[in-house]
């Protein structure tokens, strides 16, 4: 096969993650179709904050791509810089998210208050865990990349980051926009 081993494995990780999120979101969609009343609950979510976070994540994916390009050109230091920028994007995403959640929880919309909120926290929480995992791995990758070592890892973590991004592209309309 043509694909390098590391990248191939990342694709298989993504494939198995897709079905995890697929099962969760599939369940959500099936419920949502039969629970019109959830629209009221969904109205509480802050679409503006969600849109801002979407923008932040997409931008961080851009810097992941730039890191990949730098790595391909053999410029490990620049790749590392771009990866740190991506990590920063993930950080901003999480900060905005925690303000949203803080607001919602303080207004009584908690995990157990209603099935919509159960899905909201479970799906977004699972996604946030993936963001955190991606950031941690990216810090390790950036450290070796800065020494111009293992540059192929830059692309691999980038693939994963795009996947995390893509999950959010599904979550945002499902949890925020659909009222």
């Amino acid at each position: 096969m043509g694909l390098p081993t590391g990248r191939l494995a990342v694709w298989w990780v993504i494939a198995s993650e897709i079905v995890i999120f697929g099962g969760l979101l599939g369940s959500y969609i099936m419920y949502r179709l039969s629970h019109d009343a959830w629209a009221e609950q969904a109205a509480v979510t802050n679409t503006l904050a969600g849109a801002f976070n979407t923008f932040v994540l997409l931008t961080s994916s851009l810097s992941a791509v730039l890191a990949h390009r730098a790595a391909e050109q053999g410029d490990g230091r620049k790749a590392a810089r771009m990866l740190y920028f991506t990590v920063l994007g993930g950080g901003v995403f999480l900060v905005v998210k925690s303000f949203e959640w803080g607001y919602e929880i303080s207004h009584g919309y908690t995990l157990a208050s209603n099935l919509f909120w159960s899905f909201y926290y479970t799906a977004a929480g699972l996604h946030a865990l993936h963001v955190i995992a991606g950031m941690v791995i990216m810090l390790f990758v950036a450290r070796t990349a800065a020494r111009n070592e293992e540059l192929q890892r830059v692309e691999n973590i980038g693939l994963y980051w795009h996947f995390v991004d893509l999950v959010w592209i599904f979550l945002f309309p499902l949890l925020y926009i659909a009222k």
């Binding site: 096969m1 694909l3 390098p4 081993t5 191939l8 494995a9 298989w12 990780v13 494939a15 198995s16 993650e17 897709i18 079905v19 995890i20 999120f21 697929g22 099962g23 969760l24 599939g26 369940s27 099936m30 419920y31 629970h35 995990l111 157990a112 209603n114 099935l115 159960s118 479970t122 699972l126």
Partner: protein, 577 residues
């Protein structure tokens, strides 16, 4: 082949401590053995639980030796643990992880998995899951008692399952186990795609490797929704959500969908490796080319795909739409076609071969015979009309065991007796092997033929004491017969354990290729050292070139350079390490 050089570089053959060598190893063979022995130990526990509850069913209310009186809640925990342990901690680790780890690099002709450290991590996570499930035996309320399918509300609410801690520990253990097998599966698939010996093309890969890789893919593609479901059920149990609670707007049937979307492909996840093992054993001991290699591969792929469209046949009585039931009846009956085709292929492989009835071959033949009974009775259950009557009776249970026992035990015993010389460098005792074979197969049939009858007679499977149902009293002799069968089955297992351990240390020393087989693992020394091959093999042909006309020997190893097809066979080609 990039893995070869890199892996060799850090294989410095310096002295290793016991801990490094056996508990912290990244060697695929050691990890395979770790899975094998862990699985075998778990099988003893799974076997003990069935002994206790079958005794209760045959002699209700009487004290069971080694256990005491079985209470209703003990009974629930015991059946749940029997099912969970045998599937998740015996069949999965032994068939996929143990054989997969041991065989994939050896049969592909490489020195290790492409990610040895990931492999080690996979076993370590699996070991944690074992410890978690075992710890649930010692918490208040005992281990989970909501059946291995964990249907809510039974599994979601301790008021119903009476095992507040056991239920959560079960979920945690199962989730950890899934993570372990996802890591292992990614490793298997990547290794098979990227690390084959030079010259080994797609259709030169031995069937058992195809099967294990396909099984890993099926597992990878089906387990996700259940992982999501496990998170949801965990929140239902511990954090007061109501994903599966109708009172909160949830739906318990959703769990059944998530569970069986995994649960039915899971049958094929363990079936395929067993079929692969049987293919290897059968060709070697028929001294004949596997009939229709490509048909086997394509039917296995077809089975893998169709297995994703049959899950709701477990839910015919769960209140699903009858139109959906009709649809799933059709898909379920369709999946029996590729499986039947494989059975015919195996039988055709035997036809005209010079069959050697070694212990491994006996197991392989028994697999076909017993699994056929399981498959044929499945037709009744796949058809919605008949299933409404048979649902949740002992008929289902007997059908299930006629599929899973051949898979998890008969298939495993075939594989173990076949590869034992490679694993431990010594031969197993054939006489003891055959005694064990007959005792096990007779015992097994003695258990489950009566249970087909009790099930048809109306025995519901989740009853703890049938003396409360006087109208079913006439079935009691059959229940006792099944328990007697179980005791016979159990009585013959020490023969295997003795043979296994004794042969490991005192068996006849095995040469590299004692069965005169073609695949690459037999090129390596028995047992293979770290790094597997003294000289990395190169592949010239498919794995099943037995009894090729014009050759001196009746086998033709994959790595032996020979004549191009069509030319007269050379005499020098038959040399084997």
């Amino acid at each position: 082949m990039s893995g070869h050089a890199a892996a060799h570089a850090d294989h410095g053959h310096h002295h290793q401590s016991f801990f490094q060598k056996y508990l912290w190893s990244t060697d695929h063979k050691v990890i395979g053995m770790q899975y094998l022995f862990t699985g075998m130990l778990m099988a003893l526990i799974g076997g003990f639980t069935v002994y206790v509850f079958r005794m209760q069913l045959a002699f209700p209310g009487e004290s069971v030796p080694l256990w005491g009186t079985v209470t209703a809640s003990d009974y629930n925990s015991l059946v749940t643990m029997h099912g969970s342990i045998m599937i998740f901690w015996v069949a999965m680790p032994v068939l996929i992880a143990a054989f997969g780890n041991f065989l994939i690099p050896l049969m592909l002709g490489c020195d290790d998995m492409v990610f040895p450290k990931l492999n080690r991590l996979s076993y370590q996570i699996f070991l944690i899951s074992v410890l978690v499930i075992l710890s649930s035996f010692f918490v208040p309320g005992g281990p989970f008692g909501g059946a291995w399918t964990a249907y809510p509300p039974l599994s979601a609410d301790p008021a119903y399952n009476a095992t507040p801690w056991g239920a959560t520990l079960w979920l945690v253990a199962v989730a950890l186990e899934f993570v372990a097998f996802l890591l292992g599966g990614i490793n298997f698939v990547t290794t098979a795609m990227n690390s084959r010996a030079p010259g080994m093309k797609m259709f030169d890969v031995p069937i058992v490797i195809w099967m294990i890789v396909l099984a890993s893919l099926v597992f990878m593609a089906s387990v996700g929704p259940l992982i999501a479901g496990a998170v949801m059920l965990f929140f239902d149990q511990r954090l007061g959500t109501g994903f599966f609670d109708p009172a909160a707007g949830g739906d318990p049937v959703l769990w059944q969908h998530l569970f069986w979307f995994f649960g039915h492909p899971e049958v094929y996840v363990v079936l395929l490796p067993a079929l692969g093992i049987v293919a290897e054993v059968m060709t070697t001991f028929s001294r004949k080319k596997l009939f229709a290699y490509k048909t086997v591969v394509f039917t296995a792929i077809a089975t893998s795909i169709i297995s994703f469209f049959v899950w709701a046949h477990h839910q015919f009585v769960a209140g699903i739409d009858p139109r959906m039931a009709g649809l799933f009846t059709v898909t379920t009956l369709i999946i029996s076609v590729p499986i039947a085709e494989m059975m015919f292929v195996y039988i055709a492989t035997l036809y005209g071969g010079s069959i050697r009835l070694t212990t491994a071959m006996l197991w392989a033949l028994a697999f076909i015979a017993e699994f056929l009974i399981g498959g044929v009775t499945g037709i009744f259950l796949g058809a919605a009309g008949a299933d409404v009557y048979f649902h949740d009776t002992y008929f289902v249970l007997a059908h299930f065991h006629y599929t899973f026992f051949p898979i998890a035990f008969i298939g495993t015993f075939a594989g173990l007796s076949y590869w034992f010389p490679k694993m431990f460098g010594r031969m197993m005792n054939e006489t003891l092997g055959k005694i064990h074979f007959w005792g096990t197969v007779i015992g097994f049939n003695l258990i489950f033929i009566p249970l087909f009858l009790t099930g048809s007679g109306g025995d519901h499977r989740r009853i703890f004491d049938y003396s409360l149902f006087p109208e079913l009293e006439y079935l009691q002799p059959l229940r006792i017969l099944a328990t007697v069968g179980l005791l016979i089955l159990i009585a013959f297992q020490p023969v295997f354990i003795y043979n296994f351990i004794n042969s490991m240390f005192r068996g006849k020393v095995a040469e590299a290729n004692p069965w005169r087989a073609n695949t690459l693992e037999w090129v390596a020394p028995s047992p293979p050292p770290h790094g597997n091959f003294a000289e990395m093999p190169v592949v010239y042909r498919g794995p099943y070139e037995y009894s090729v006309e014009g050759r001196d020997e009746d086998y033709w190893p994959q790595n032996v350079p020979g004549d191009a097809p069509g030319e007269p066979a050379g005499q020098s080609a038959g040399q084997v390490a």
